[in-house]
């Protein structure tokens, strides 16, 4: 019984589920550091997911598919940034709108471009291949590491790059200053709006990758509303992760594990829909823990 839970398979599934959450959470993390609470991650991901399938289908190239996914995310993020940063609209309202608009746009385009409803599958869609590292010899997880998608590794690389940037480059200090004390940047004559734009566009690219992973990394097709709230889980992940990138990675992995646990419990007879509430309940619990912790620190 316990074996079933604590298997390598579960860790592998956990990593696979964690990948899109991590990518989007990294984006949300960057925005948060820059003082923007981006709840548009969900819609940005969806936009990337659709664009990735469209690009892969049109060009028969997984690489261009990834590029398309990134651009799809950046496009949605640019709308968000334009309104929130340049036109100074409310970030919550705008984020929600991006999410709702993304659902509308993708369902519309699915009909308008591909003439289908609900899902789009085709053998013309080229999936992202595994990276094919020669790691088969590692016991347990080796075959997974060598056969898993390039995008999983890309997510790790993104986490490392962002961590280095935030800790060891002047730009990272400045980015965090935008969120924490914008007056400090202004006093040194540094641009605030441009920094926010940058953070939001990068988060768009990361969400685009997340969407790309869901479609041409895992499913090989496009399904309406394929993100299914993962963008919101990503919010819980970066909030739960705290101030460091390491925490975000850990939180994303934990949510991935919960997802994988949901799959497991299904195998053990728990009805699937009930099991799938687990990640959302975990997110609620995580947000509650973070809230209680912050209250202890900043109780006024």
């Amino acid at each position: 019984m316990l074996d079933a839970f604590l298997s390598w398979t579960m860790v592998e599934t956990g990593i696979r589920f964690a990948t899109p959450i991590l990518l989007a959470a990294l984006g949300g993390y960057l925005c948060q550091r820059a003082g923007v609470f981006n709840i548009g991650l969900e819609g940005t991901m969806l936009s990337g997911a659709f664009a990735a399938v469209a690009a892969s289908f049109a060009t028969h190239s997984w690489a261009l598919g990834i590029l398309g996914g990134v651009l799809g995310g950046v496009f949605a993020a640019a709308i968000f940034a334009l309104f929130v940063v340049s036109l100074r609209t409310d970030e919550i309202v705008t984020g929600l709108t991006v999410n709702i608009l993304a659902v509308g746009m993708t369902t519309y385009l699915l009909r308008a471009v591909f003439g289908v409803q609900g899902r789009f599958a085709s053998d013309q869609i080229v999936m992202v291949p595994p990276l094919g590292l020669p790691l088969d010899w590692i016991p347990g997880i080796g075959s997974f590491l060598s056969s898993t998608s390039i995008l999983v590794y890309l997510a790790l690389v993104a986490a490392i790059v962002i961590n280095v940037y935030m800790r060891y480059l002047p730009g990272g200090v400045r980015l965090q200053a935008v969120g924490e004390a914008p007056a400090a940047l202004a006093a040194s004559g540094l641009p605030i709006a441009r920094t926010k734009w940058l953070a939001i566009l990068v988060s768009g690219g990361l969400c685009g990758l997340a969407g790309t992973y869901l479609t041409i990394g895992e499913l090989g097709q496009y399904v309406d509303n394929v993100t299914a709230g993962r963008g919101y889980i990503a919010i819980a992940a970066f909030v739960f992760g705290g101030r460091g990138v390491g925490g975000v990675v850990l939180a994303a992995f934990l949510f991935g594990l919960v997802d994988s646990l949901a799959i497991r419990t299904q195998g053990l007879g728990l009805p699937s829909n009930l099991a799938f509430t687990l990640p959302y309940i975990a997110a609620i619990a995580a947000i509650t823990v973070v809230g209680a912790r912050s209250r202890r620190v900043s109780r006024a």
Binding site: L169, R174, E180, A183, A184, A186, A187, S188, G189, L190
Partner: protein
């Protein structure tokens, strides 16, 4: 060296919409000179300084430094050209170290990476060069306010500026630190820099500066060498009325109003016993305070900000939890009551930071004036508002307190600071309660509003209310209070009747230099 002045301001005008904040100001400063700029709130001092520092774009006019024109509205270019400004509000990143804050924007690098070791070395070098000791690796959030200001100054000096602008630099400092800062300013001037500073404290202006300029309604109305002017003359220039009236407004007659000793000796209205308050980090910010305030009496709490006064007031108001101790009002123990219960018949509260705590800026004047009265039966028919009664009530307050607004439904945020504060004072002082808490009532309001507000506080005491006032303006405390308590590190270090405590002892107590 050519003979062009270190700084020349030429015909600068700043317009915000229809409002002319700075109106055709020209001035010139030499190297090695301390130039003070004085004026009422809203006279345009900060705006003018912001133009010089490249923060605000001027509508017309130009700035030149050592003969070279400065680009308009470009902070970075100004810094690079040698013009830097220490702002009134802190511009530091709390979670970062002193060194990281000081080098922000021109960080030393090794390759593409941030070279933190060199940053610390640079800052240590600056610190010893200007004799402003600071630990480069300390986290800014942990520093007391005086050191934070030192960091701000070093941050500006790190750009090797020739023109140093300081906006009310001594406002938050205790007297001894303030005078140390004035010495530093003289030192900077002695090195051949130009120091421009804004101040409300005319005494310090007279003691430190070489020349002074007076701004009124955006115009430079007077300029003279400091030896050729006097405090009364400056004051009258600032408000544009004759010196006698200025004296009355400024409260120069400090302490002159004869005050009876303890108006309502007997049972105190407010009795605080051994009050302790713990802040978010678990630090004792109020550490065993006993304080009584009698009916008919104004008690002023003074001290450098951050010594527990704000927390003390919030604890009395019920906004902040109490760790131990007792608060009674009118003989009733209210320690266990929440804000709503305390406001029902016990206290009213004019909070610090009116825009943040006192008013809803986007709501109408009417909505802001009725807050706290809105559940009273006289304003309702059954569950519904009697709109006319509410309007009449609000209109009454507007008239009685001379609140200048275009109409009752005007968003209160559109009013001037003085009028917003008048509205809050009107609302809170109309509640029929024995105790009125008042925090920083005249910060940033113009002289006329200050006069109205002071008069109202005196009236409240005369009518038998107990008034507890927290202020960082020692002159205000001396002018209004019957008794004074000096807070230092969460304790009352000095307390007693205002007319018996000398200004010097209060100053010493504020900086903790006085034993009890």
């Amino acid at each position: 060296m050519d003979d062009s002045p270190a700084l020349r301001v030429d015909g600068v005008t700043v317009e915000f919409g229809s409002l002319r904040a700075v109106d055709d100001v020209s001035l010139a400063c030499r190297a090695g000179e301390v130039y003070a700029l004085v004026g009422e709130n809203g006279a345009g001092k900060t705006t003018l300084m912001n133009v010089i520092a490249g923060v605000v774009r001027s509508t017309r006019g130009s700035i030149s430094v050592a003969g070279r024109p400065l680009p308009v509205g470009d902070t970075r270019a100004a810094l690079q050209a040698g013009v830097g400004m220490v702002r009134q509000h802190h511009t530091l990143i709390p979670s970062r170290t002193v060194a990281e804050n000081i080098v922000l924007g021109h960080e030393p690098r090794r390759g593409i990476f941030y070279d933190r070791r060199r940053a610390a070395e640079l800052v240590a070098g600056l610190s010893s060069r200007f004799a402003l000791p600071i630990d480069p690796n300390a986290v800014v959030a942990d520093l007391p306010v005086g050191l934070k200001q030192r960091v701000e100054l070093l941050k500006v000096l790190s750009w090797d500026v020739r023109i140093v602008i300081l906006d009310e630099p001594t406002a938050v400092l205790p007297p001894d630190e303030a005078s140390r800062l004035l010495d530093v300013m003289r030192g900077l001037a002695a090195e051949g820099r130009t120091v421009l500073f804004i101040s409300h404290k005319l005494k310090e202006v007279v003691s430190v500066s070489d020349r002074v300029g007076v701004l009124r309604a955006g115009r430079l109305v007077a300029e003279s060498a400091i030896v050729e002017t006097s405090i009364p003359e400056l004051a009258s220039r600032m408000i544009g009325e004759d010196a006698a009236a200025a004296g009355a407004f400024l409260g120069v007659d400090e302490g002159a109003a004869a005050r009876s000793a303890r108006a309502g000796a007997g049972t105190p209205v407010l009795a605080v016993e051994a009050l302790r308050v713990t802040d978010a980090d678990g630090k004792q910010c109020v550490d065993g305070v006993d304080l009584d305030v009698a009916a008919g009496e104004i008690t002023a709490i003074v001290g450098v900000e951050g010594n527990g006064q704000a927390e003390f007031m919030e604890a009395i108001a019920g906004i902040r939890d109490v760790a131990s101790g007792r608060v009674s009002i009118g003989g009733t123990d209210v320690t266990g009551l929440d804000v709503e219960a305390r406001r029902q018949g016990y206290l009213a509260h004019i909070p610090e930071d009116r825009l943040f705590n006192g008013a809803c800026v986007s709501l109408s004047l009417r909505d802001n004036l009725i807050l706290g009265f809105h559940r009273e039966p006289r304003f309702r028919t059954g569950p519904f508002f009697r709109a006319e009664a509410l309007r009449a009530f609000a209109r009454g307050l507007v008239g009685a307190f001379d609140i200048r607004a275009r109409y009752l439904d005007q968003p209160i945020g559109e009013l001037s600071g003085g009028n917003i504060q008048r509205a809050i004072v009107a609302r809170e002082s109309t509640h029929d309660v024995p105790l009125v808490l008042v925090a920083q009532p005249t910060r940033g309001v113009d002289i006329r509003a200050m006069a109205t507000i002071h008069a109202r506080l005196r009236e409240l005491a005369a009518a038998g209310r107990a008034v507890l006032l927290v202020t960082s303006d020692l002159d205000e405390a001396l002018a209004l209070s019957h008794r004074i308590a000096v807070f230092f590190r969460g304790r009352i270090l000095l307390g007693g009747e205002t007319r018996e405590i000398g200004r010097e002892r209060i100053g010493l107590a504020m900086s903790g230099a006085l034993g009890t």
